[in-house]
Symmetry: C2
Subunit: 345 residues, 2 copies
DNA sequence: GCTACTCATGTAACCGGTTACAGCCGAAGG
DNA sequence: CCTTCGGCTGTAACCGGTTACATGAGTAGC
């Protein structure tokens, strides 16, 4: 490892000057700067990030808080890969890296300050690494823990969870509008008995999608019927069970908006199990546009989320907070109706 | 932030003693140790990781090298989430975190030592962060870049790419055996004309699966026919195209082993497009057991990989290398035949 | 009772940068 | 010609830990 000291000696300057070349280049005279830059390049000088972080009291890392919800271990984020790629690419162009924070399994750790699954452990972790900011990925039940991060004063961006604070904001899809679009699509095809399969009660996007469903009904001049709202938990099984209940109503719906593609797939299976044909006897719209949506039979019409957009929007918000000390407004990403075969022509 | 100095003053000891309490507890007398531990707990002391890393010349972070192959941007890892969860949980119990390294988009970065997409940039990155080790995730074309990491002397574990070095090893599924199992299953159902759709030529697991296919044929006493081996690239489209070619043979196969589930799905679609019924006219076995495998119609019989096993095995190998300075043998994870509907009874 | 050795702890150098402050030099102004 | 000022550079303190080495107390051995 070549250090700044060696560069300095070779160039006949002090380490301070070397440091300045990379941090405040304007304060170094042209010839000196060029000499240092050239030597640094030749020797493949890479500044030690630990030393840098120690002295600046700020590391070039963004913490990523992400864990499985222990209440539902099978849950997978619908588009984590796209999200990570978006985040990584946007952050890297500003020199930041992503640190995957791990604490929930730390029960056995002897390190002080790390207690298990509690947010305090995470907050302590962010402090000890002098992180520049945090990205919080919803795993289903962390909403209240996230407010602890928002209060910590560190720049925080949450995904799909509404948080607020002096340096906290969030990114989410325009769930209300997306759901309304879904209902409008169904109404436009002539459906008048449109039901919905909702997500978990304590989940913000789920609540917003239910609101959008009602908005969509209202916009189409249709009445909102309580017996057409069945609550689920985003999982396929709850879609299956919920759909069977809907189909057992005296006046069963002819169309259904599912708050997640997984539940929509469940609804498809329920229809098949009941002997109904999709889309002829039942139209189905999902939400997310996960990979399987295009593979099921019939292919699922759905509301697509802007998957890489989550990553880049989160990165941008974070960088703004780091640089300007102000919390930007929450970001509402537009959704897009993807028409496939599950609603008919 | 409370520092070790403050703890030391409150306890009437030196900082060295405080440090020892957390690093070599045995060298501190009982009463002193307990006093320091109590005060540290009360004040929520979290040692500054930058200072720690600086002085130990070793950080508590494992680098994760993962990027999309620019030659095929749509490619997604079949089970990244499970892998990350496994890694994270296994590493966190030893106090390590995962650092997602980003360089390929760093063209605009002014930081010295970081040039874009080349492995040198990555290696420089690993040095400047004083990483404890590296996990290399195959994105399709990085095989030669990975050997650069292996040579760097840092403990390295690659997934699905064979690398070797004084402190390098890899984790992969037992592809040969898995493929042989698939063929054995087909042969056991009476099939005698068994074809295969292979993965990319430069991909090690793909080559192993092809070898397993031949082994399986030999074990069943069947001849290996060159016209039954069609090469693909793991993508669905290549499965579709490849299957059509196979079905156009003078003596078309009655069964096919696809080296990935995506290609198996493509084969399913090709069969449907040709008017063949699966499994009656054609039996299909895939590899991976991705989520859609159970969703397609008919549900796909496939060779399942041990998804969380990849993460935990990688973590274990890495920790062993960090602690013992020796490179463990490559890990071969067992696969499992999952029988669904695409091969008939 | 003196030496030898062990154990616990303190002292201080060190890791490799950043940055406040001081100093030097040349040019502009009086 | 002397002062002033601004631009560039060096000096040294500092970030917060770790650890080699020194020190001193207590104990065992003779």
């Amino acid at each position: 490892m070549v250090t700044a000291r060696e560069i300095a000696e070779l160039c006949g300057v002090s380490v301070a000057t070397v440091s300045r070349v990379f941090n405040q280049p304007a304060s170094v005279s042209g010839p000196t700067r060029e000499r240092v830059e050239r030597v640094a390049r030749e020797l493949d000088f890479s500044p030690n990030e630990s030393a840098r972080a120690l002295s600046r009291k700020q590391s070039a890392m963004i913490g990523l808080v992400w864990d499985t919800d222990h209440r539902r271990p099978g849950w997978r984020h619908p588009f984590l890969q796209d999200l990570l790629l978006g985040l990584k690419s946007a952050l890297s162009s500003h020199g930041y890296h992503l640190l995957l924070l791990a604490t929930s399994d730390d029960a056995r750790s002897r390190t002080p300050g790390v207690s298990l699954a509690d947010p305090v452990g995470y907050v302590s972790m962010t402090r000890r690494h002098h992180l520049a900011g945090l990205v919080l990925i919803d795993s289903g039940s962390d909403a209240e823990a996230f407010t602890a991060f928002a209060r910590s004063g560190l720049p925080c961006v949450a995904l799909d969870v509404a948080i607020s604070g002096p340096k906290a904001t969030y990114v989410t899809s325009d769930n209300v509008r997306g759901a309304a679009d879904a209902v409008a699509h169904l109404a436009g095809l002539g459906h008048r008995r449109i039901a919905t399969l909702t997500g978990p009660r304590d989940n913000t996007p789920a609540a917003e999608r239910t609101r959008g469903y009602r908005d969509g009904l209202a916009a189409a001049g249709l009445e909102a019927r309580d017996d057409y709202v069945v609550s689920g938990d985003f999982y396929r099984e709850s879609g299956f069970v919920g759909m069977r209940r809907l189909l057992a109503r005296k006046e069963p719906p002819t169309a259904v908006f599912a708050a997640s593609d997984e539940m929509a797939v469940g609804a498809l299976l329920a229809a098949r199990a009941t002997g109904l044909r999709v889309p002829d006897d039942l139209a189905v719209v999902g939400f997310d546009d996960i990979e399987v949506a295009s593979l099921v039979d019939p292919a699922l019409t759905t509301i697509a989320q802007d998957k890489p957009g989550f990553g880049t929007a989160a990165a941008e918000a974070l960088l703004k907070m780091i640089e300007t000390d102000a919390a930007p407004e929450p970001v509402l990403l537009p959704t897009r109706l993807v028409v496939r075969d599950s609603c008919g022509a």
